[in-house]
Amino acid sequence: MTRESINLVIRKTPDSPLVRKLKIIFPIIAATTLALFLLIFFISIAYNNSTVQKYKQLQGRVETLEKKISSQKNKEGIYTLTVSNLSALEQIVAKNKSFSPLLSELYNFKSATLNIESINADNLGNISISIMASSSSALDEFVEALIYKEEAKHMFSTMEAQGITRDKKGQYSLRVAFKADQSLMQ
């Protein structure tokens, strides 16, 4: 009795060079990808943990400082109010005008022959002055003095005489309106 043998192994067809190459490259890629993933994953966990730790420390410092600042609330309040009050006061003081130099300047016109009746002034420098002169020459002197202050000293401008009257005693009264320079209102 003769024995017959049957080959059950599937016949191997030889791989093409490309497949052979791929069979080497693909496992390397897979292993590298996996290793890389694991490496980055663990690094990211470690990094996150340390960042969270630092964040908590930072938060702790912020909270401590906030508590410290809260305890100084009164000091902050009084300082803030002082600054805002000072700013408001500074605004008022800066806009404030003085009428004292103007009064001195205008009062200097008074003489034995010229009497000042009244002066009206506002903080924009609009002035009107009423005078009483004992003679026409005194009146002339006053007008010349005004013109001198306008032309040579630039103290006054836009002068306008609003009317001259002469009473039965021979006294002249004159009302002049003009604008005073801001240097007289400092």
Partner: protein, 242 residues
Amino acid sequence: MNILTKYLSILKKYETIAASLVVVAITLLLSYFLLLPNFMQSRQIISQQKKLNARLSLIEQKDKALSALNETYYKENFAKMNLILPSSKDYISLFDRLDELQLKTGVVIMSTNFQLGVISTGSATISKVAGMQSSMIPLTFEAVGDISSIKNFIDSLKEISGRFISLDSVSWTFKENMVRANFNARAYYYPLSQTIGSIDSPIPKMSKNNDSLLQKISQLPAVVPVSESFSSINVGKKDLFN
């Protein structure tokens, strides 16, 4: 059966490649589900850390600035400042100021007229001056004196030594050596803010002008609290029979 054998033989032939592809695919999936959230979390923590760092530097600066402040100095000067620019209309201090100037300069105040307007505190907005932080009370008053006392009076009004009054217009009438002056003026008040900034808001900076103004105010005599000013009053006998 033949087809199955055929597929099996193909699978067997490419199993290394297939297994590698499966590993890569699983790694990609894991990256998406595990790594990406980690990165997102890191990013979030870093951005929050940046914000916290900024906040920390702000509050560190604020703490430093606050620590350098002398609370007593500001408290004392705030009380003095309240005399110059009170938080309410406080017409009593207006009378006081004019009385004080009258005594100091020698003029005689003939009449005063304060236009106080609405008495309630809400009226602050009504008398607000355009472009100014403070509110104002229009007032008119008449003073009589010689020329030098009237000039002194006007100069004294400008001083920062009591309730601040600014002049809008003046009319002077001269009779012999006496001057009658009619003043249109303004007194001011500045309602206090009820709130201060948040904890990380920087404290306001004091300008040079503010500082020099504060220096002037600090030279003024200290304000005696009302309770202390009455502490020396003798109350007399408590028991009438002993």
